[in-house]
């Protein structure tokens, strides 16, 4: 059993003004796979280390299995952690690495051997038993790190970007292995990543963090379809959501010379400025869409053919939505503007359309959009507006 509850958990490092983790409250029921996701420096690793007990908390409370654990030593918390760089003991063999924690608990030899053997068999480590970490490949080390966590049969697994040191192909394979493992063991898992694909595919629920503040905790589907604010909308989804500032007037949205009727149930204010979000996948070539849907015409600048899907990138005659939150989300790892090679003040839109016919750069196409699938945000606060905004933060 291992439920974890965080109440207003805060971490302020000395010499910094903004807390690294700011009053995070979160309840993780027993057996859940929760993913903490956010750009680098958002505090997700700090939060995980606080739960592990290797980082102290400035204020707030951690409950593990409903028992106060805020100030307990890591070993009293019954949690296991998988580190980004694996942190295997380099001078011990694979078997010794797995034995270490059990030996410290003075578990009888026979029981220890049985448990280690079982885990090694499960993770296909048996042949590597006598090797040292230096003689293992990245994927094998990853498995040993998992094994070291598993032999302890802890109340919860904490994983800090465990796949980020693997190459792309192995990462995808290990991702589904991790999902299977969780299915099989059913142990509460908190998984930190900056990769939204990992977050979406692994998490039963995903917690999005920015600047130490929890933005939204929800199922992957709801994060995608009902983002609570601009940051979540821009962070989740690939390619990134298209955003444009738009005037609301006469029951229609006006942007870049286009006019799109406001859907009747959108619950938008009747006039004013809103930021409209359109997922690239919600744009379709007009010839394959229903006649009634509104269109915009686009002169394609870049065409990326991915096989089943084509990403068509085109400029929109409107200023870039330069909300700080969006820049941060889109840039992810780097500085604002790192995603751009050429200086460009225009807004670029991406349409992800099914590859039903070839497209070429320079071609002008009509794109249909579904008004029911538009997202609206307040330009000031960045909060979702209207129908989608009504969804509450589930914590």
């Amino acid at each position: 059993m291992g439920s974890i509850q965080l109440n207003d958990l805060t971490k302020a490092f000395p010499d910094t003004e903004v807390p690294a983790v700011d009053a995070v409250s979160l309840e993780i029921p027993d057996g859940e796979f929760l993913v903490l996701v956010g750009p680098s420096g958002c505090g997700k690793s700090t939060l995980l280390r606080m739960i592990a007990g290797i980082e102290t908390s400035s204020s707030g409370q951690i409950l593990i299995d409903d028992a106060e654990a805020t100030h307990l030593e890591p070993k009293q918390r019954d949690i296991a952690m998988v580190f980004q760089n694996y942190a295997l003991y380099p001078h011990m063999t694979v078997a010794e690495n797995l034995h270490f924690a059990l030996r410290l608990r003075r578990m009888p030899r026979a029981e220890r051997d049985a448990r280690v053997a079982e885990v090694m068999a499960m993770l296909r480590l048996t042949e590597l038993e006598e090797r040292k970490p230096g003689q293992l490949s990245g994927g094998q080390r990853q498995r040993v790190a998992m094994g070291r966590a598993m032999v302890r049969e802890p109340a919860a697994f904490l994983m800090d970007e465990p796949l980020s040191n693997l190459d792309a192909k192995l990462r995808v394979a290990m991702r589904s292995e991790l999902a299977r493992l969780h299915e099989r063991l059913g142990v509460t898992t908190i998984y930190v990543t900056h990769d939204q694909t990992e977050a979406m595919t692994l998490g039963q629920r995903v917690a999005v963090l920015k600047d130490g503040v929890l933005q939204q905790v929800d199922s992957p589907q709801r994060l995608f379809h009902a983002p609570r604010n601009l940051f979540v909308a821009a962070f989740i989804g690939s390619p990134t959501i298209n955003l444009v500032e738009s005037e609301v007037a006469d029951g229609a949205l006006h942007f870049a010379g286009h006019r799109v009727p406001v859907p009747p149930d959108a619950e938008l204010p009747s006039r004013g400025t809103v930021i409209v979000g359109i997922r690239p996948s919600d744009l379709e070539l007009a010839e394959f869409a229903s006649d009634s849907s509104p269109r915009i015409s686009a002169r394609l600048e870049i065409v990326e053919n991915l096989g089943a899907e084509i990403h068509a990138i085109f400029p929109i005659d409107a200023p870039r939505v330069d909300v700080e939150a969006v820049r941060k989300a889109a840039a992810g790892e780097g500085e604002a503007g790192d995603d751009q090679l050429l200086a460009d003040e225009r807004s670029l839109f991406t349409a992800a359309v099914a590859a039903r016919r070839p497209l070429a750069p320079g071609e002008t196409v009509e794109l249909a959009l579904d008004p029911d699938r538009l997202y609206f945000f307040d330009p000031e606060s960045g909060l979702a507006l209207g129908r989608r905004g009504a969804t509450e933060l589930v914590a």
């Binding site: 007990g53 030593e73 890591p74 070993k75 003991y89 380099p90 001078h91 270490f100 924690a101 070291r148």
Partner: protein, 284 residues
């Protein structure tokens, strides 16, 4: 590239340059090896033979001096005296510097940085400068002419350098490993023993070897603190005998030669780890 003909002026010039370098290096080698040869030769010849040509080759070899080194010069007793001081001191320094370096590198406490700076600053302190205060302290503690006195003085003198050396090794142990051990349930001492020390093994062996060599050869503090004839350490013992045994120069030389054996053994024993310790960090 085609090789220049062996007689071309450029080739000859380069050859001459190389000869100069070789001669220079050979001179250096001789100046380092000659004293050792002098000592070995003197130890293996009679005193009369030595007087006829000091520094030259012996006319015939003898092992009498070595027997006399034990019976007259008492090298064996001095060596034991040295071991009784050096071994405990090296052990004490090793244990204390392990604990101190571990704390200074991997724990966070007030004034940690200052403590590190202080340790480094203390290395620069010339031992001779504090000889008299140290002597007074040992005297006041009632430890003059006690081995414990010298053991404690040695530990105090060699701790700063030892902490500094180990700290630089411990810095290379990733904090993440210590965190992993903590989560696995290891306390701080257990982590030191099972994770940190095995990883700094080359550093540890380097430290033990260096300290053994330095303390074995230490003269000044030993001379001042262990003044009774029965407790003299080997360096002091042999040095003080040189005046008394002017007639028996060979036996003294043999004693000195024998005194080199223990450090040499230690060096040979740990030689592989020592080389690794001194070059650690050069190649990842």
């Amino acid at each position: 590239m085609s090789a220049a003909p062996a007689t071309s002026p450029r080739h000859l010039g380069r050859r001459a340059g190389r000869v100069v370098v070789w001669l220079f290096l050979a001179a250096l080698a001789v100046s380092a090896l000659y004293p050792l040869f002098f000592l070995t030769a003197t130890a293996l010849r009679t005193t009369d033979d030595y007087r006829s040509s000091p520094g030259g080759l012996p006319s015939h070899l003898t092992t009498d001096n070595i027997t006399e080194a034990f019976s007259v010069v008492h090298v064996g007793t001095y060596a034991l005296n040295s071991l009784f001081v050096v071994v405990p001191a090296v052990l004490l320094i090793t244990v204390l510097s392990c604990l101190a370096a571990y704390a200074l590198i991997h724990f966070d406490f007030p004034l940690r940085k200052l403590a590190l700076v202080l340790v480094v600053a203390l290395i620069a302190l010339p031992p001779t400068a504090i000889l008299i205060p140290v002597f007074k302290a040992v005297l006041d503690a009632g430890l003059l002419n006690h081995r414990l006195g010298l053991i404690l003085v040695y530990s105090a003198l060699y701790l700063p350098f030892s902490i500094y050396l180990l700290a630089s090794f411990m810095k290379s142990v990733p904090t993440e490993l210590l965190n992993a051990a903590r989560i696995d349930g290891a306390g701080p001492l257990r982590t030191l023993w099972s994770v940190v020390l095995p990883l700094v093994r080359p550093g540890l062996l380097t430290l033990i070897t260096l300290n053994f060599l330095l303390l074995w050869n230490e003269f000044l503090f030993s001379l001042v603190i262990l003044q009774s004839e029965a407790d003299r350490t080997i360096m002091v013992g042999i040095a003080l005998l040189q005046g008394h045994f002017e007639k028996n120069f060979g036996a003294v030389s043999a004693g000195l030669l024998l005194s080199m054996i223990p450090p040499l053994l230690i060096f040979v024993f740990f030689q592989r780890d020592l080389a690794r310790g001194l070059t650690a960090g050069a190649v990842k």
